[in-house]
């Protein structure tokens, strides 16, 4: 049987990050542009921090502060992400 967990702190933080960094009104063309379509796939705070770092790299690419090649070179190894625990809550 499946279970339902509502408002668990870490889960709520994950959902907050998923919304506040990836959704909401975008005023594209303003000075700061947020990263589009960042999907926080994995559950776990350590992974969340990785996602934020990824978002930051992408923002730098979008603003010209970093090249695509640099962003890819600085990406965490996929194997590290897959090895992280399923859930911290």
């Amino acid at each position: 049987m499946a279970s339902v967990v509502a408002n668990e702190k870490n889960v709520t933080l994950l959902d907050l990050l998923d919304r506040i960094l990836d959704k909401g009104v975008i005023l594209w063309g303003d000075i700061t542009i947020s990263v589009a379509d960042v999907d926080l796939v994995y559950v776990g705070l350590k992974v969340l921090l990785t996602s934020i770092e990824t978002a930051e790299r992408m923002r730098k690419v979008a603003t010209g502060d970093m090249t695509v090649a640099e962003a890819v070179a600085r990406a965490p190894h996929r194997g590290d992400r897959d090895a992280l625990p399923v859930c911290d809550h």
Partner: protein, 253 residues
């Protein structure tokens, strides 16, 4: 420089006061019936630390009690008051339509995970049994690749089936919805629903009932949230934006 939290509308009640990110006072700018809630900000985007993220969220939520709200993405800076007023005026009709769409409604989030970490172990055993004899390293590598692909296909099929089930059971309780089949080894699906405030309890009860019928899966339900997932496209994006490029890049990383 101004930091923008939300776009909202006039109400009989005053807007909440207090301090925003960086300790600066909140204030608002107006265009007709529209209001933009802002605070002074340094030239750089605020740090993406948990404290700032929750503060942004708390300020947006404080508006939700008595008026319709369009939550703005974290880190949105506007040059000055004049630019903000131009933005409000330029997009006035779109903001007004978006406010109508979310009025009296909240967002509820669903996140569906595999209870047991996915289908990997069982599939591996059955595949090796199919092959019979011990296999070489190269062959084992190809078998593993095949196995991984089979698992991905199975997850995708399960996610698509669940999406159909969710649409059938939850759509009647929601005014709008966004379902995304992720089909990752741990996360199967995410969804967001725009729900009337008076229907929140009924929606949660429906999710509870649905969860009872699902095996292998865990459903995480959060909210009520401001309607982040239903206001993102209220202003059409420039054809020159780099969202597509970023999406492709993220998939590669």
């Amino acid at each position: 420089m101004l930091y923008l939290y939300a776009i909202t509308e006039r109400s009989q009640n005053p807007l909440p006061g207090g301090r925003g990110i960086g300790g600066n006072f909140l204030f608002w700018l107006e265009d007709g019936n529209l209001l933009a809630l802002v605070s002074e900000c340094d030239a750089t985007e605020p740090a993406r630390v948990e404290e700032n993220l929750w503060l942004h969220e708390a300020i947006v939520e404080s508006l939700m009690a008595d008026r319709s709200v369009l939550p703005v993405r974290f880190g949105t800076l506007v040059a000055d008051e004049a630019q903000m007023r131009v933005r409000l005026a330029t997009h006035h009709d779109r903001f007004a339509a978006a406010l109508d769409h979310v009025r009296g409604r909240v967002e509820l989030g669903l996140r569906v995970l595999w209870n047991d970490g996915g289908t990997e172990d069982g599939t591996r055993v059955s595949l090796e049994a199919e092959m019979g004899a011990p296999v070489s390293a190269g062959r084992a590598y190809l078998i593993a690749r095949l196995e991984k692909e089979r698992q991905a296909q199975a997850r995708k099929a399960r996610g698509e089936a669940l999406a159909v089930q969710l649409r059938a059971s939850l759509a009647p309780l929601a005014m709008d919805s966004v379902i995304k089949v992720v089909a990752a080894p741990r996360l199967l699906l995410t969804a967001a629903y725009l729900v009337d405030r008076q229907s929140i309890d009924a929606f949660r009860a429906k999710v509870q009932g649905l969860a009872a019928s699902l095996t292998q899966l865990q459903i995480l339900c959060t909210g009520p949230w401001p309607a982040y997932s239903f206001v993102t496209g209220c202003i059409p994006q420039s054809p020159t934006d780099s969202g597509g490029m970023l999406t492709r890049l993220l998939q590669d990383i």
